[in-house]
Symmetry: C2
Subunit: 396 residues, 2 copies
């Protein structure tokens, strides 16, 4: 990609950080966000999108929680990449998360870079980007901010909170923090705590970013640069963990790029190398490196049971929420064992829970893909939950 084009796209991403093509809820000094680290973040803003119409009873709202590098652009064209939103397989008219029937909300997480306040936002104390002066946030902080947004929208109780991966962590946290506000919950391909291996992979990514001299100890925006190479390496390492070995084998195997024998160089000889390099370089155009540090850190800190004396079931003690927990057989980032641990805790707390393990070779990223059993499971769960919640059947 030519440097000029790269610069343009990068500027688009920076503009979205402060003046997003989204709805924006602004919270002034009278309504700070109380963070787990002890800081009151104020002022702050939340960028969000909505799809569909809130019914008169305000009872048909579904909050979607995005994953590490996702954002609020679930169904519309993404303002930076120009690509479709991240869950068009699942969300839209006639889809399982049916925008003809439900009012769908998705907000960019606190610490993110698509319009919610994060490390690329202007620090009111200095007039410059926060950088590492932005406070370290947690999954619970993200959910606290979402709850303030839901209040702002005049919604007392959500019909459903749903999401995959880090989004699933937020789903679990929602039920733990606000059990009376969540009628149903759909955590997908997630865990109630981040494993040592997952922390290790995140630490590799953070070290790659911080090793890049263009990172400037987090002050790269002041220098009008970005730690492009470091962030690309972080993305490449992470991307491997989103796929399965069989999927990599099926898609790329040991196929050479545009030839049938090695070049005996360090060029991208293999298709899988070329694919990874593209994943790295395209990610840099849409995501802020400091946000990557903050959001991975939030995931690493997540250990829901630890907040309840080490007994995960206690996190769901007061919940009357209907749960559907979903995992994928080839997901080695959040393996089925992680979902089973959630289900066991829910059973121990007497919650209503169904559990589906979907057979697929697509790995962790299956939650973002056109996976028929996931789509059928989600549709079936939401239909049944809607009936239990007293929502009218859809006009056909």
């Amino acid at each position: 990609m030519a440097a000029e084009v790269a610069g343009t796209i990068s500027r688009a991403a920076r503009r979205e950080a402060e003046e997003p093509h989204s709805l924006v809820a602004r919270f002034d000094a009278d309504r700070p966000l109380s963070l787990d680290c002890g800081v009151d973040l104020s002022p702050f803003q939340i960028a969000y999108q909505t799809y569909g119409t809130l019914n008169e009873e305000r009872s048909n709202a579904i909050l979607l929680c995005h994953a590490l590098t996702g954002d609020q652009h679930v169904f519309n064209t993404h303002p930076v990449t120009g690509k479709p939103g991240w869950w068009t397989t699942m969300v839209g008219p006639g889809k399982p998360i049916d925008t003809d029937r439900f009012f769908v909300i998705c907000s960019n997480v606190i610490g993110g870079c698509m319009g919610s306040t994060g490390p690329a936002s202007t620090n009111p104390a200095t007039g410059r980007p926060y950088g590492l002066d932005f406070p370290v946030v947690t999954i619970r902080d993200m959910v606290r901010a979402q709850a303030m947004l839901v209040d702002h929208l005049g919604i007392e109780k959500l019909f459903c909170v749903a999401g995959g991966s880090m989004g699933g962590m937020q789903v679990l946290q929602w039920v733990a923090s606000y059990p009376e506000r969540v009628f149903s919950a759909l955590p997908i391909a997630t865990g109630a705590k981040h494993s040592a291996q997952n922390i290790a992979f995140h630490e590799v990514g953070r070290q790659a970013i911080m090793a890049d001299p263009d990172w400037h100890h987090g002050r790269y925006l002041d220098q009008d640069t970005i730690p492009r190479k470091g962030l690309a390496v972080a993305r490449m390492a992470a991307h491997i963990t989103y796929l399965s070995e069989p999927a990599l084998q099926r898609k790329f195997g040991r196929n050479y790029q545009d030839r049938d024998r090695p070049t005996f160089t360090f060029d991208a000889d293999f298709q899988v190398e070329s694919y990874l390099r593209h994943q790295g370089s395209s990610f840099v155009e849409r995501f802020d490196a400091n946000s990557y540090l903050y959001v991975t850190r939030a995931m690493d800190y997540f250990d829901l049971g630890d907040d309840f004396g080490g007994v995960l079931g206690e996190a769901f003690r007061d919940a009357k929420t209907h749960f559907c927990v979903v995992s994928f057989t080839s997901d080695w980032l959040f393996p089925t064992a992680d979902s089973r641990a959630i289900v066991h805790a829910l059973n121990a707390s007497g919650a209503r829970v169904s559990f589906v393990e979907i057979a697929t070779d697509k790995g962790h990223d299956a939650f973002l893909l056109n996976e028929p059993e996931l789509i059928a499971t989600t549709g079936g769960f939401l239909s049944a939950a809607a009936r239990a919640h007293g929502l009218p059947e859809k006009d056909t």
Copy 2:
């Protein structure tokens, strides 16, 4: 580590690259190494160690092949790190690879950085380090160089060739290239080809190195610097793949470092982060970054069946070699399926083969550790093979 100390150790590593504390076999212009890429490498040298005594019949030699970041220092104290050699669990008097009985040879691979010719060696054409002017080498090239060393030592037939991981690749290549020269073979935790996922992880490491401005397009030694941060990130990413998730959980879990709660910073809060950082920074003191590029590339190119029309069994067609193939249940870098593929090919070619899958949670690195079943398997296999080879019993 203080910069001064780091500099000292780094100089020690650089000295070993050219004037190693090892035996050295030098091959002059009349004996070039013909590489797969078409280049004749000349002159070149191989640094090696031996342990035990070659018998009169020259029939008791065992060649050990080291893994990616290993070297010839199997049993003696390492001249750079001061630590014990890499296979003291397995090699020594009374050990399965018994130096009272066998003559043990291990050489640094071509492309390495512990005294065999590699990218840190002086390019005779320029008088400067080769850097990326060093030709890209393959596993077959490494084995070709080892065969020239074995010739140099006056040994016609090796009693055994053994090694784990990349060492195991060399074991397989030895039998394919020189079937009549290998009486028995012990490939451990390896595969007959490198998988797409493994290539992907290596590519992340190479990109991390090449992203470091101190790499200087491979000419860092001319600049009196090393790509310290990039190489450390490469090592961190690779190190995760050498362990298993259960082992990481058992060793570190989510334990904090020196405290019981998060710091809400990007310091190494978790023990697993601190451990990985140490793995990265200590590796930089002993290994050359360009060698890391070359040796990972050699592994990526390895696809033994591809050299035989895609039929792996053909690689072993003429072999009368006795095989023992070993895998570990928790090894996800070279999973048991890779070893099974080798065993199936050996069966198809009518070879003598036994296969042991060892139950352990220690992951790929189990081959380097004190794993009782591996030690017992190796001892039993070598004893039986020694009898079949007509070696006298050990005096007791």
